[in-house]
């Protein structure tokens, strides 16, 4: 190298190093044009009270918003249902507001698929169809009793040919029907776990799914730790050790469909104890005698073999049921999921009735609503919002499908529910839906049902819109939940019910209000006079704002009295309800019982497109972003499979493949598959992940209520090709692999 080139080279090197250090990216700080809410702090955030709408439990939540963005959802501490807690789905809802796959424009199906149309055109199209339909339409939602259902029912409810349908939580109608004779009016049974000393959960996965998991979770806390000297004891009877069962003290692996038998056997011992100890109860002695006679067939010695447990276990349930009073019996999916669900529930509620008589004054039953239950406030609110319990459930879905097949409906409105995905194959919902001329799907995301609709209306997220909600479960006091927008709409959506109002008005139909917000205010005004505890001196607008600050209205001023003893005639007749019919199974010739179950995250499948929920480890298996089938290690050994091996699970209705997860907490003759996976059209995160267990299920129904018997399916399980690496967060037996957590 010569000097010249050397100097050139080093000069370049030197300047290069200076240039590298020189660059600086400038950043901007963008202020508001108008500071929001003078006096409030837009920098650290404001909290707004509203109601979570991820399921129909109706939990009150508070949402922290910063700079107009929703940041965090927490339970509303003063709300009687959530009591300050919020579940995983509620917490993850902030993600769905800002989800990149949110629908942003109305879409009308044309020859070449969906095309975006403007809002005005959407209103025109709907109003045109409403005029043509002349009342022959159906409204299908997820069972919610809210402003949207209220508006639709006020417009169309009295028209000939209108049908209201709630695609509710499976087993809903069985819960209402079971033990109904012992109650004064239709209700969801909610025994008082908070104040109980001993509880038997009959297949009730209440802390993770069902009508009100957050409330039950709070009750569990109260039962265990809420009292200074009493720690409640819980026993779980069912086919699988769910995460609910995992927090109980004892798991009894009862054969599927036999929980009613167990309840009756426990009742037999309880009645025996009452008679032999001559306990002074309000129940007439001759009724006791009548029951004792019919329950003789359910003596533990006689049924222990069927229940696959020693007879003394049944005594060990019955004796504390009397001695550790107050005690409660709670029934859930393992009861309602069979054809004998209502019969089993009759037995469980019978146990509860006995328990209340034994522990009179000690228990406050939550289902007690108002002094005049039939005409009471709760019933009138329900009627005002349109969807009563008869409109909810599988039986009504079957009626809808039959109607669709017969061409009874010119159009349908489907709001925030995905029946094409979450109903059993045996119902054949998709085929029936294709026979309806015009369907409108009100949704936040494209899903399997929206894809089948004629027109899709992108709705506000529940954080962005108005509603009023009557929760299915009311904890001893009537509750009217309010849902208010906590942020401005993130994308150009409109409230679905506002569009329906506009279309109905354009079709010259009588509408209850000009907007959903007005409707909500109207409902508050309608019931204001009966809202005990609410300040009477406020004007209507201030009163409404006062309720919004709390998240709604509820009152503990209404006396929550102990359950009255049913009248003698009812008790006398109840003998006829004390029976345990055999369960029936679709595919009875197959060797394994299929146990589909809801997880906390996926619910019925709506959680699958949410990354936070996919990432949250399943409480039992710790699996994430993963689909699986649980089977007992003995079963796995017999099939010659280990964790991660693929197996094919099949029934007459279809088949799925799933990777095996050996799990000790399940009967060897049962395989469990989580619900909510296997979407075919629900966005990048959900589509193609796992398989849909609903495709294996037939359409068997409960003999009494018509509820879907979703645990009444038997299946074949065979080893299949391939393996999958299981994405686990931890070892399912715990850090010490069973040394601390003993199964």
């Amino acid at each position: 190298m010569d000097r010249r080139s050397f100097l050139k080279l080093s000069g370049v090197a030197a300047s290069a190093s200076v240039v590298g250090a020189c660059s600086r990216t400038s950043q901007n700080v963008i202020s508001f044009v108008e500071a929001p809410n003078d006096g409030a702090n837009p920098v650290d955030g404001d909290w707004f009270a509203t109601t979570c709408r991820e399921c129909n439990a109706g939990c009150g939540v508070i949402v922290r918003t910063v700079n107009g963005r929703a940041k965090k959802i927490e339970g509303n501490a003063i709300h009687p249902i959530s009591r300050g807690k919020a579940c995983a789905r509620s917490q993850a809802a902030v993600q769905t507001v800002y989800h990149p796959e949110r629908l942003t424009t109305p879409m009308l199906k044309g020859a070449g698929g969906f095309e975006s149309i403007g809002w005005d055109k959407a209103v025109d199209v709907i109003s045109q169809r409403l005029t043509e339909a002349e009342g022959k339409l159906f409204y299908l939602n997820n069972g919610a009793n809210d402003a949207s259902s209220g508006i639709v029912n006020e417009i169309f409810g009295k028209m000939d040919g209108f049908l209201n349908v709630g695609n509710s939580e499976p087993g809903f109608e069985s819960l209402v029907a079971g033990g109904a004779a012992l109650a004064e009016s239709p209700r969801l049974p909610f025994p008082d776990l908070d104040h109980a000393q001993f509880a038997i959960l009959f297949g009730a996965d209440i802390f993770e799914s069902g009508p009100s998991p957050v409330f039950w979770g709070g009750s569990f806390g109260e039962c265990r730790r809420g009292r200074a000297s009493v720690r409640g004891r819980l026993v779980y009877a069912g086919s699988r050790l769910s995460s609910t069962a995992a927090v109980c003290d004892l798991w009894l692996p009862v054969p599927p469909g036999k929980l009613g038998l167990l309840a009756l056997s426990v009742a037999q011992v309880v009645v025996d104890i009452i008679i032999s100890r001559k306990l002074a109860l309000t129940i007439p002695r001759n009724a006791l005698g009548r029951w004792s006679e019919v329950l003789k067939d359910y003596d533990p010695e006689k049924v222990a073999a069927q229940l696959e447990m020693p007879a003394e276990y049944i005594h060990k349930l019955a004796i504390p049921f009397v001695d550790e009073s107050p005690s409660v019996a709670i029934a859930g999916a393992d009861v309602t999921g069979h054809v004998n669900g209502v019969a089993a529930l009759d037995a469980v509620e019978f146990l509860n009735m006995l328990s209340y008589e034994i522990g009179r004054e000690k228990l406050r039953i939550h289902e007690r609503l108002t002094p005049e239950p039939n005409e009471g406030l709760k019933r009138r609110i329900t009627q005002a919002l349109g969807v009563d319990h008869e409109a909810q459930g599988y039986k009504r879905m079957v009626e809808l499908v039959a109607g669709m097949e017969q061409g009874k409906y010119s159009m349908g409105i489907i709001s925030h529910t995905n029946p094409v995905f979450d109903t059993p194959a045996g119902l054949k919902f998709k085929d029936a839906m294709s026979k309806v001329g015009f369907t409108v799907a009100v949704a936040n995301f494209m899903d399997e049902t929206a894809a089948e609709a004629t027109l899709i209306l992108p709705d506000h997220h529940w954080l962005e819109g108005w509603s009023v909600q009557n929760p299915n479960f009311v904890p001893g006091v009537p509750v009217l939940n309010l849902q208010q927008p906590v942020i401005r709409p993130f994308v150009d959506t409109r409230s679905g019910s506002d569009i329906i109002l506009a279309a109905a008005a354009a079709a010259k139909l009588k509408t209850p209000a000009a907007s959903t917000e007005e409707f909500v205010q109207g409902k508050v005004k309608q019931f204001r006079a009966e809202m005990l505890g609410a300040p009477a001196y406020l004007g209507d607008e201030e009163f409404f704002r006062h309720l919004l600050r709390n998240g709604g209205w509820w009152s503990s001023e209404i006396e929550n009295e102990p359950t009255p003893t049913p009248p003698d005639s009812v008790l006398w007749e109840y003998r006829d309800k004390l029976k345990a019919p055999e369960p029936e199974f679709d595919g009875a010739e197959n060797p394994f019982y299929l146990h589909p179950f809801q997880t906390v995250h996926m619910g019925r499948g709506q959680g699958a497109n949410n990354g936070w929920l996919q990432e949250a480890p399943d409480p039992i298996t710790t699996l994430m972003w993963q689909f699986w089938v649980e089977m007992n290690p003995a079963t796995a050994a017999k099939l010659g499979v280990v964790e991660g091996d693929m197996v094919k699970i099949s029934s007459a209705h279809g088949s799925i493949t799933a990777p095996v997860f050996p799990y000790k907490g399940i009967r060897p003759d049962v395989v469990a598959v989580p619900i909510g996976y296997g979407h075919t059209n629900y966005g990048k995160l959900a589509t193609g992940r796992g398989e849909n267990v609903m495709t294996l299920l037939g359409a068997k129904q409960d003999t009494d209520s018509g509820a879907h018997a979703w645990r009444a399916q038997k299946v074949k399980v065979e080893k299949a090709q391939g393996r999958m690496k299981m994405l686990r967060n931890a070892h399912p037996e715990g850090e010490y692999q069973g040394e601390v957590f003993q199964l």
């Binding site: 190298m1 200076v18 400038s26 700080v29 963008i30 044009v33």
Partner: protein, 178 residues
């Protein structure tokens, strides 16, 4: 003595040492002079707002505009409507004020250029410092003398720690690196 007279290996060694030395020198210059150079960072802003005129001559309190400083982690840049409170009628025809009104009336936020910033791994809470009566100028310098705001202090960890040590404020890691 000609460079070319050295052996090839010797030439390479000398070339390497020289380059390294020059590079090192440049680097040292940046490290030594850099802070001063960086703190004369006085970027041009979309609106020629003068703190000297408002906070100095007119003695308007810092917290009148930066109103969230005592209530929040962040001091916050005032919203456009804060300017409008006065300039709706004071010097409403001045060109810079017309620009502000255009932003306000057109609902367009003003995109200020950040002068004071901390890296993401540092958490600073204004509210606590104001509660302890730390004057704004302590960190931000004599802002009331500046027509265009510039950084007079280097926001290095040493700068923060020195004051924390002097005033017996917490110096454990989680205080700021939370």
């Amino acid at each position: 003595m000609s460079f070319s007279k050295f052996s090839p290996i010797a030439k390479m060694v000398i070339a390497f040492i020289t380059t390294a030395g020059m590079g090192g020198g440049v680097f040292a210059a940046i490290v030594y002079f850099g802070p001063i150079w960086l703190t004369t960072w006085a970027p041009a802003q979309p609106i020629k707002f003068s703190h000297k005129l408002h906070a100095g001559t007119n003695k308007i309190s810092c917290e009148y505009c930066h109103s969230y400083a005592r209530r929040s982690e962040m001091a916050s840049i005032p919203s456009a409507d804060r300017c409008v409170y006065c300039h709706d009628y004071i010097k409403a025809d001045a060109p810079e004020i017309v620009k502000v009104m255009d932003h306000y009336n057109g609902d367009k936020p003003i995109e200020w250029v950040k002068v004071f910033d901390l890296p993401d791994h540092v958490w600073f809470n204004h509210k606590r410092h104001i509660a302890k009566d730390v004057p704004c100028q302590k960190c931000h310098g004599p802002v009331e003398t500046m027509d265009v705001v510039s950084r007079t202090n280097e926001f290095s960890m040493g700068f923060c720690l020195a004051c924390h040590q002097e005033n017996e404020a917490p110096t454990d890691c989680w205080t700021c690196h939370t």
